[in-house]
Symmetry: none
Subunit: 215 residues, 4 copies
DNA sequence: ACTTAACCGAGACGGTACGTCGTGTCTTGCC
DNA sequence: GGCAAGACACGACGTACCGTCTCGGTTAAGT
């Protein structure tokens, strides 16, 4: 769990062991919580996106009072973040094959696969919604992007150590050069986004670096 | 391809030379049209973004009946597209300095400058809105991205001819590798987006290609 | 034509022989005028009534510009009045059978027949509309009610002369006692309104008067 | 007959003893309900009438959301009916002086007084609106006319028993002959409607009957 | 034949109100 | 004290007509 960077989330009360005491009154309904998250994802995949998604509809679909939604999630953004960001965790881990290019390429292919699936709509909705909702894009960054990027640093570092990449490379620059094109094609849809695209980018970016003399 | 120009727009009637005849009835008010577009941009720069923008407010600000807005623009998306996409035309032309890297870098710096300015909110709104509105992202592509990309092809082509880039390069791949990182930082805001970033990307991508032996 | 009491109407220009001269310019289109009146009656019979009737719809149905309607009729009221009030003229003349009761009864039966027909909706619309439009109820009075009432005076007068009614009777009171019940049932619809009702009222009111000693 | 009371109204929920249970959810705000009715009457007295009255204005005046109005009253008509018809109840009861003519005359005078007052506009609006809204005129009949008419039957019946009216009289015919003229003058405004008119009609109609031999 | 002037259709214009939807808050009785 | 139900004030939606305003195109009478 750990970071919980943004207090955006709707994790159940008792999750942190701050105190042995449970607060008085009826405890939060885990059933409602999950029902809400499920309905959120469901509707997000159906409808036009973040803008079209209504709390009213979520509450209705989840058989839950609107109050219950508002009680636990301050904004629609927080809810959507919560609903999605816990999901694709395992799937996007980085492999360790002994080759940077292969490691990166494999993980990028998996990202593309997700973006092309139903869940892609949710990512699109998050980024889109984030353009007019600072909290939302922040949640996306902190809870989706950053956890992965930390692993990516390690993957690239291994490459440097193996001499596949020049020492002193700007890792953030490299990562944005690798992932930027994917997000761009995903969002603007001006060109084909298939899994081979991962290889092509890695070829262009990482090969170029390979040939570069060590600083 | 095919700049079919997506009949999303609210260009004045007589613009296309389909017919010498003017249609009957009172002609469209050019004054109203411009007032609406002006107000749209104005409010778009102020408010939270595409989602916060209301047609009601635009009509009020432009001293125009709501009907007049709806008569000419089918959706808010179409209106925003129209309002912005005619604007930053001149500014984003490509120079011709004799060096691909310099040409690209200079133009990319100008793009970054725009994205960082007030007008950047409009671009963000368009891309965001486009995630749940196919027509809108289509308009963005056809009327903003494509016209520029055509010039970019020529710029890269000159580089190939001068031997700065290997012949047979995948131009679309190169361009996405150059611009993708910019859009990614712009939209996700996970890292600093200043004009130097243009140079860094060009350094990474185009230098890598330079070192690559001709196919 | 004579009375033209309220200048509500849309009679064609040249109708009055004020001057041998025709004004310059294109003369009014008789075709349009009739088409408008026709469509007005048609829609009035269909729709919910005066309130539901829209000038927009009339103009569309009549294949006429809205301007043409507004040019000739200042209000919807004026238009409706004009459309209807010329129609049922002949039909409501009073007979002269030699018996007041028979004369009145026959004419009242004809009125009831009209009220029960499609044209009844127009009368209802006029009276209804007249409740929030002084001009309209005035037009109804002056152009429908009064012309008939003048004839009714004569009919009753003949009855007085024949000794069927007491001299010095309040004719207006009598007429309202005869017609009031009809209009009441017509508008409130709380009881059956058939042609026999005419006889029943005449029986009650005129018989009562007959038995009354001459003043 | 059958006071089925036309479920047009916005009476508070619990009014009918259908069930001991209160429905779930926040109960209806009695305060809002009354505020809406109050504002309706107020505006109805001011403006041109039923047609000029706008729900928008009512909601604004009552400090209430438009939704709340629409939630409880299906049409403007229903609202107006509700606003008025509960009001003039006490005032129009029939006296019992021992004389039919006096009883009727007194009550008719009170009706005329109301019609001439501000509240008359509401009656006019109801009848006018009822011409294009079956439910509205039904409400007027069932909730205004009928309750009074039932009392009128008793009044007339007493007259028959006292020998002031012939046995076997058609009570409905008599009542329409008495009230019809009042409504006619009220709606068409072709002649003076003052309280003496009540006496005149009673004189004409009831005197005539008095002289009539018993069947 | 040419001008002048009013009419005509079409339809865009600034507005007002419509009736609906979703917002976030509130108020109940039950659990 | 959480929960569902659902009413509440509010604000924007997209639509229908309002009455006014331009247009190009007739249709005559007066030159």
């Amino acid at each position: 769990m750990a970071q919980n960077h943004t207090r955006i989330a709707g994790a159940p009360h008792g999750s942190d062991p701050t105190n042995g005491k449970r607060p008085p009154g009826r405890p939060r309904s885990e059933e409602s919580r999950q029902s809400i998250l499920r309905s959120t994802l469901k509707l997000l995949k159906q409808d036009g996106g973040f803008g079209e998604l209504s709390i009213e509809a979520i509450a209705a679909d989840a058989n839950v009072g609107k109050t219950t939604v508002y009680r636990w999630w301050p904004t629609k953004a927080a809810l959507v973040a919560d609903a999605f960001l816990a999901s694709a965790d395992e799937e996007l881990r980085f492999p360790n094959t002994g080759s940077v290019q292969k490691d990166m390429s494999l993980q990028m292919r998996r990202l593309i696969r997700i973006l092309r699936s139903k869940r892609g709509k949710v990512v699109a909705a998050l980024i889109a919604g984030g353009q007019s909702d600072a909290e939302l894009i922040e949640a996306f960054r902190d809870r989706f992007l950053w956890p992965r990027r930390k692993q990516a640093y390690q993957t690239l570092q291994r490459g440097i150590e193996r001499g596949e990449l020049p020492a002193g490379s700007d890792l953030d620059l490299i990562l944005d050069s690798l992932y930027g094109p994917i997000y761009m094609r995903f969002l603007i849809r001006h060109d084909k986004l298939d899994e081979n695209f991962a290889d092509e980018i890695c070829g262009l970016v990482l090969q170029g670096l390979k040939r570069q003399p060590q600083r």
